[in-house]
Symmetry: C2
Subunit: 514 residues, 2 copies
């Protein structure tokens, strides 16, 4: 174990792989070269370009599925995904063991895989584990430690050869026999396929699975068939109603509405909401409300945003259609309006973790976002934040693009001062996901704390009449109401590592007392 630059003790080796401790923001400079996939030749592939095989099982067998491989999947179908479960059903049927699953995220629907984690079909999950799988891991039941990465960190890890994917299986709402694919059309339409981009580029074998085969060419080719080994047609990839919700709702909670209003007022006071600005709000109820407040302010000022970073939804699409936003740079469509807009409007641009978030490239566009509104399970006196574990130590959420968004110009976290009488503002976060130096403002219903590093924001908002407090005052207020929270008692065993955007280890998660 070694103490990293954030003061957290992390192992120098985890799951048998050497780990680099977090060194501080921008401090670790990588050396070496990107992962270099094998050179292939057209002559090894069907002359007519038709790569269809009869079943997913056949595709997995032809791709050489065997013990110990790393299999990647993607969370474009969110809690409606059927594909990952199919893959491991087949692996189990074939008696393949000791697989590492490398999803871009897992959801409650993947609780189906718990028996395979118990019987040794799957040994490790590297990827966000939302809900049941997170609980399973938290209780120390997975053979290897999990490894959590941001969306950008996942791209970085694949690109850098930190994770070598043997077989990538890409669920494609629309595809052709060559393997060109997009997420825009078909019964499982999900919008885009950006989370699978790195896998298509760098995995050894790539399988595209669709339930909507179209004649060549499948346009646009969000995934390019030139990277694809096999294509498969199945009856159904996902449950549409769980892939994209028909409606996204703005919060009706007065507490959350207050958070949203305070956040928007802060942005206005700080001079952030001006003509040509950019923002990322996200899809949660509070975030949606922030965007709605922005909309009102923009209308009133007669200004527009140059771009909004999505997760897109009905409200954001309406803003673009109303002329308040020039472009949506979208990483994930959260509802059917988002899917429709992306299919029809060229200004609704599909992005990827490469363009938006990869830290090991020559910049990424998160840097261009003027203000980003993010959530957190906990924040602390150093403005550090946690998004993966609850204060009881349970690992129940993924990182998503959260860490990557911290590189935006202003990062605001609106959180309630406490949840279920458990303070959100703490002495120290249970799990460190984002270093405080990148987090600028904490907005609570009982006051707003600005990171002392951001003297410019303090200066600009001084006379705004907004209820400013120090972060310590916020913590004390929370404790006055809820009492001083005790630290969770955790076991020694490390059940998961938390990677920073550069592949270094920023923290670990330990087994809960179960």
């Amino acid at each position: 174990m070694i103490r990293n630059a954030a003061g957290r003790y992390v192992p120098t080796e985890l799951n048998g792989e050497k780990q680099i401790p977090y060194m501080g923001v921008g401090k670790y400079i990588p050396s070496g070269t990107k992962h270099a996939p094998a050179i292939r030749s057209n002559s090894e592939f069907p002359e007519d370009g038709n790569k269809m095989v009869s079943s997913l099982k056949e595709a997995l067998q032809k791709a050489g599925l065997k013990d110990g491989m790393t299999i990647s999947t993607h969370h474009h179908f969110r809690n409606g995904d059927l594909l990952a479960n199919m893959i491991f059903d087949i692996a189990h049927e074939l008696g393949v063991k000791n697989l590492r699953w490398f999803p871009s995220a897992s959801f409650p629907c993947h609780a189906h895989l718990i028996p395979y984690l118990e019987d040794g079909t799957i040994t490790a999950i590297e990827g966000s584990m939302n809900g049941p799988l997170g609980k399973f891991v938290s209780e120390g039941k997975m053979k290897s430690a999990g490894m959590l990465r941001s969306h950008g960190g996942r791209y970085q890890a694949i690109q850098d050869g930190e994770v070598k994917i043997d077989i990538a299986v890409i669920g494609a709402p629309t595809a052709d026999v060559f393997g060109n694919a997009n997420g825009l059309h078909g019964p499982s339409a999900c919008g885009l396929l950006g989370f699978a981009l790195a896998d298509s580029q760098y995995a050894d074998k790539v399988i595209v699975v669709t339930d909507n085969l179209v004649p060549f060419p499948c346009i646009p080719w969000q995934i390019q068939g030139n990277y694809v080994d096999f294509t498969v047609l199945v009856d159904k990839l996902g449950d549409p109603e769980k892939i994209v919700s028909g409606t996204t709702q703005i919060t009706k909670s007065p507490d959350r509405l207050l958070l949203a209003e305070l956040t928007a007022k802060f942005c206005d006071a700080a001079g952030i909401i001006k003509d040509g600005f950019s923002f990322q709000a996200g899809a949660g109820g509070t975030s949606l409300s922030v965007a709605e407040y922005f909309r009102a302010i923009m209308r009133q000022k007669g200004i527009k945003a140059r771009f909004a970073r999505g997760g897109s939804n009905k409200y954001l699409v309406e803003m673009m259609e109303e002329g308040l936003v020039d472009y949506i740079l979208d990483g994930q469509t959260f509802d059917l309006d988002g899917v429709r807009s992306m299919a029809q409007n060229p200004n609704h641009t599909w992005t990827s973790p490469f363009t938006s978030y990869n830290y090991h490239s020559k910049g990424n566009f998160a840097q261009f976002v003027d203000v980003v509104i993010l959530g957190a399970t906990e924040v602390d006196l150093g403005f550090n934040a946690n998004v993966v574990t609850h204060s009881d130590g349970y690992l129940l959420h993924g990182i998503g693009g959260w860490q990557n968004c911290l590189f935006s110009k202003t990062v605001i976290i609106p959180v309630p001062l406490f949840r279920d009488r458990i303070p959100v503002v703490r002495d120290e976060v249970t799990t460190l996901c984002g270093p405080g130096e990148l987090i600028d403002v904490i907005v609570t219903e009982r006051g707003i704390a600005i990171n002392p590093l951001r003297k410019d924001l303090i200066e600009k908002t001084r006379d705004s009449g907004l209820p400013f407090k120090t972060i310590t005052e916020l913590k004390e207020e929370a404790e006055k109401i809820c009492g001083k929270p005790s630290k969770p008692v955790l076991q020694e065993k490390i059940v998961a590592g938390i990677k920073w955007v550069d592949g270094t280890l920023i923290d670990v998660v330990r087994q809960v007392q179960s």
Copy 2:
């Protein structure tokens, strides 16, 4: 020297680099891995994403321009390009020597560089040399041998690490400060930037130069700023009237019209022109006429094509707008109608040498094209063809996508039986660019020869009434009129190598008697 599988003598080493002799279509199976660029970090780049430097000179200096480097440029501005000349003016001014220029193609406008070839600023050109530079090379005046590759072969060479680019300079009709770029808008609009894709992905340093800077984000980002090191704003990148011609003309020559008509009639007789078919015609006068005959046949039959492969132009755009073509998969826009359509119509898809032509991938879409109409300077009794040299040995043309297109399902070459009383159909082509086994039909004004390998085509067109002849009969007929041509007397010195699509050496060009 070694005799390759096509019977041509090629060196095992050229310009100090080991060469693999051509082994036959699909016979060379590459080993090893793709070129792996260095891993970079966002922390090495400006925090605000703004990579602008004050001048091209500063960008080249910051990119570390020095003796012996490989500098790549692209031919999107065709004969209107000003950028390549600017780069080597700067190199000359700085006294940098011994550069290898790696353009995707060079044009007469680059005759400006001849003094730099003479004074040692540039030692070698690898890329198509149209016109004056080709003449210069043919006469043995360039220090190193040239190396010609197809568009797909250029991607392959970069991807495979056969050519390592030190500095790629990408001319961008529209760009933002981050380096996102497209060819769709601005005074130098050229349509797309596909020829620069490989360079952006694999070059060590990448400079984007624009004369039309837009606020972030430049959408679409045909070139992604995440690959870009520096951005530069200049007054003018190209001469618009030479970049895209305002008009593209169908041939008025009765001979060429006859070739076009015979070609279209052959396709019809062979059953190729059917609902959902695909074709690539190209932008020459004869090819345009073929497309116009196709159009008439399609209208008459009430059918449409699934896609047409561009080079796009007014006629192809009209066909799509008329509903005769679902998609244009475009590699290069040849006129302003092509540029406009690509900017406005999502079915007018911009492609790249990766998606269309790279032979060292898991297939490419040339395989899907039902029929392709190509040109040639010479064809021979083995159905082999030459596109780079004239019969006097002068290297005056590039390969373009020609070799790559040979993988289409049916390849037709309409050529006059002779040009300026020099027979086009010969015993043996002067320079071998495409092996006869991939070339199916030679159409001349005095008869059509089908490759005996294509028994299916012979069978289908037997009763069509078209004027079929053997290739030998065509040759004899040409010689009856023009006399038996003598082989050009060439010197020993190899002035250029001709690569096959897989990086092997299919032939060489020798110095002419000057």
